[in-house]
């Protein structure tokens, strides 16, 4: 087990390094005139040059990268070129918002998807068909449309939730829930559809296995067979899908945070990328990559725990 963890961590670090180099240089290729973007369109060329010099953008690219990487290794990710805020402060401030959304969405997806997937597999018939149709619909509709629909209906028309903004749980737990409910639902729909299908499929497969027949022949009630034994055996693939969905949701949070004006990492990523704010983009990339690596590792460990066969392979 320790060597398994070490191997995965080493792979994670390699991925992270590759990502950093690629992102840095690709951003440079895309953003030709960051200094102009910072000082504004009406500024004279002289002011643009002054800004370039101030940020060190007039130095060779490789020197700039070495400078950034050197500081990053010591934990200093620099300051945002646009707001002057320390990148680490920006990330620490914004990460909780995005984590609220993604973890909330994973929890909601897990509960709803496993429940309806299990019902579909256990009951079959009309319940199964309904789940199937809803799953296809859920994965077909783009996230931003769902977000817009929820905002218009439940925030604007019905007024049950705020349409935009974020309240910290330390200020008000109820307020916090009210600000993240719609975004979490918007983020969950696609995942629920995917995971429910996964759970349904693996449970139907498991129900055909010999041990189920054996359990049934011993007179165990149907409910107990399905929800205890079969569901547990089918939970491995569902967990993998959920882990994958978490990563997808991190991407989906970009759109959802824009629609609901939530000050999360996604919102920062959008504005920083369009502006060419390289230090901030790099910070977002690093933290996202670290989270993705950790989530994958956690999923693998949970899998191994649930199913000893994984440990052997």
């Amino acid at each position: 087990m320790p060597s398994f963890i070490l191997r995965r961590l080493a792979a994670g670090v390699t991925t992270l390094l590759t990502l950093c180099v690629l992102t840095f240089f690709l951003l440079y290729l895309g953003a030709a005139d960051t200094a102009r973007n910072i000082v504004g369109q009406t500024a004279s060329e002289e002011i643009v040059e002054r800004k370039k010099a101030e940020l060190g953008l007039d130095r060779p690219l490789i020197v700039q990268f070495a400078d950034w990487a050197g500081s990053a290794l010591t934990g200093d990710l620099g300051r945002s070129w646009f707001t002057g805020q320390e990148v680490t402060d920006a990330l620490v401030g914004r990460l909780p918002v995005t984590l609220s959304l993604t973890i909330g969405a994973v929890l909601l997806s897990a509960i709803v998807a496993i429940t309806i997937g299990a019902i579909a597999a256990g009951r079959r018939g009309w319940a199964d068909r309904t789940v199937q149709v809803l799953s296809v619909a859920g994965s077909a509709v783009p996230g931003f449309l769902i977000a817009l629909f929820l905002a218009v209906v439940f925030a604007i028309d019905l007024g049950w939730f705020p349409a935009t903004g974020y309240i910290r749980p330390s200020d008000s737990v109820v307020g916090w829930l009210s600000t993240i409910t719609l975004p979490v639902i918007a983020l969950s729909v696609g995942a629920i559809a995917g995971v429910a299908q996964q759970v349904r499929g693996s449970m139907i497969d498991a129900l055909r296995l010999d041990y189920v027949r054996t359990l049934r022949s011993r007179g165990l009630p149907h409910r107990r067979v399905v929800y205890r034994h079969v569901l547990r055996n089918a939970s491995g693939p569902a967990l993998s899908t959920l882990g994958l969905q978490f990563v997808v949701m991190f991407g989906g949070a970009v759109v959802v945070e824009q629609v609901f004006a939530l000050p999360g990492l996604g919102q920062a990523a959008v504005s920083a990328t369009s502006q060419g704010d390289i230090p901030l983009v790099m910070g977002v990339v690093i933290i996202t990559a670290v989270i993705v690596v950790l989530v994958n590792l956690t999923v693998d460990l949970l899998q191994a725990w649930l199913n000893p066969k994984v440990r052997l392979s």
């Binding site: 895309g30 030709a32 005139d33 960051t34 102009r36 973007n37 910072i38 000082v39 504004g40 369109q41 009406t42 500024a43 004279s44 060329e45 002011i47 002054r50 800004k51 101030e54 945002s80 646009f82 707001t83 002057g84 805020q85 920006a90 620490v92 914004r94 909780p96 918002v97 984590l99 973890i103 929890l107 897990a110 905002a151 218009v152 604007i156 007024g159 705020p162 349409a163 935009t164 903004g165 974020y166 309240i167 910290r168 749980p169 330390s170 307020g175 916090w176 569901l231 547990r232 824009q258 609901f260 004006a261 000050p263 919102q267 504005s271 060419g276 956690t298 949970l302 725990w305 649930l306």
Partner: protein, 510 residues
Amino acid sequence: MKHSNSLVAAIALGAATVITLTSCAGTTTEPGDEAASVLRLGVVTPLTSFAPWEASWANQSPYLQAVYDTLLTAEPDGTVTEGLATAWEYDDAKTQLTLTLREGVEFSDGSALTAGVVAEQLIKFRDGTSENASLLRSVEGVTAPDGATVVVTLAEADPGLLGSLTKNAGLVGAEAMFADADAQTSPIGSGPYVLDEGDTVIGSTYVFTAKDDYWDADAVHYDEIVINLYGDATSLMNAVKGGQVDASASQTPTQIPEAEAAGFTANIRESDYTGFLLVDRDGTLNPALGDVRVRQAINHALDREALVEALAAGYGVPTTQIISPSNPGYDEALDDAYPYDVDKAKQLLAEAGYADGFTLVMPSNDFVPESEFAIYADQLAQIGITVEWEKVGDDLFGKMLGGAYAAFSMLLETDTSMWNSMQFSMLPWSPWNPFKVEDPKLVAWAAELATAEGDRADEIAVEVNEYIVEQAWYAPSHRLESAFFTDADTQVELQVDNAYPYLWNIQPAS
């Protein structure tokens, strides 16, 4: 069962982590307790910097006005009035301005406002990286003969200076900011509010709390101001409709009917103009544009009524002048100097030797809808001008201002003073005169305008405007109407010379 329970435990742990993590930081847009009055403002432009010497203005003014005072201030009609300076006086040559500072003003760190701080501030702005650093380009030196007197020496007379001191050039921050690495994010001003850094999420939500002892208590209408940035047109409209803002700038004219339907008042002001800048007036790059008849033909080719409908959903005023009604050079008759007339345009082109038309290369970009370029090209094609759009990315401004194009379509700000308008785009040294075209008449008028006063100044302004319209230096289409939305509990007085109303002019509805 042990394994299933572990899964549940893991999930529960995850939930606990969220709650712990989220309690560390974040923001609030909650109105707060009922006793405190809160103004929630929507903005569409992120703040560049709280450091006064890097500060922008226009749509960024509310962030800065919350925490800073300016040396002078402006009435809604643009009239210059007292600010941190209570008196100001020019010498006869108008190259020396003496300002007398208000007594007893303190910054939020407890330090006192002194002439020395102001003097250093002005020089820092002139030499800094603010978008508008050139507002102080005529400043040669600043001295502080005593604690309350500031003397500004100019290289040449600058009639725009007093106006500039009501804007970002006049912002004054405490001395402690000058060498502070956090100056961009931690303002220390003498303004009516202080930034609540704990509740602020930089780049998203800014929370300001009123000071108890502000020198101009009448200008403070709320206990707290929350400024929310909406980078996305949809989320801005959702915030308006969902009641998450009390007042907000608009992003596009098409939002006006939506906001009105949501019960907001759309306070409309004419702002920037849009259309073409025919910058190659000497025909350096494209000889055709060197002929005034060609430039006039382009003006006659624009169906401005149709453009207002197509580009601004009807929220615009067709015009053939770039000078706005708040500028003394404005002449209503010049809004219709070149009526839409395809035959006349073709005739002018033929007279200039371009009966078969010509090709005009212009830049297109990603932040204006593709359809807009198609409409422009279509209108020019009707008189035989073939537009070749060249897709340009982030280097658009560098290329336009560097003289890569003979003409381009653009949306540009208007100014309340003709002298400033001339400095911006009509003189050999103007940034928006990329080919540095020198017209002796304009240079002479600018020199006269530098020291002219009263009626004579207004006369020159009108003469300049008539001349550039006649010479067809530009082919504007319309002045855009922008809206500032206010809900039923909020009232506002707009500012003629600024995109965003001044903070103290946004008040509870009486």
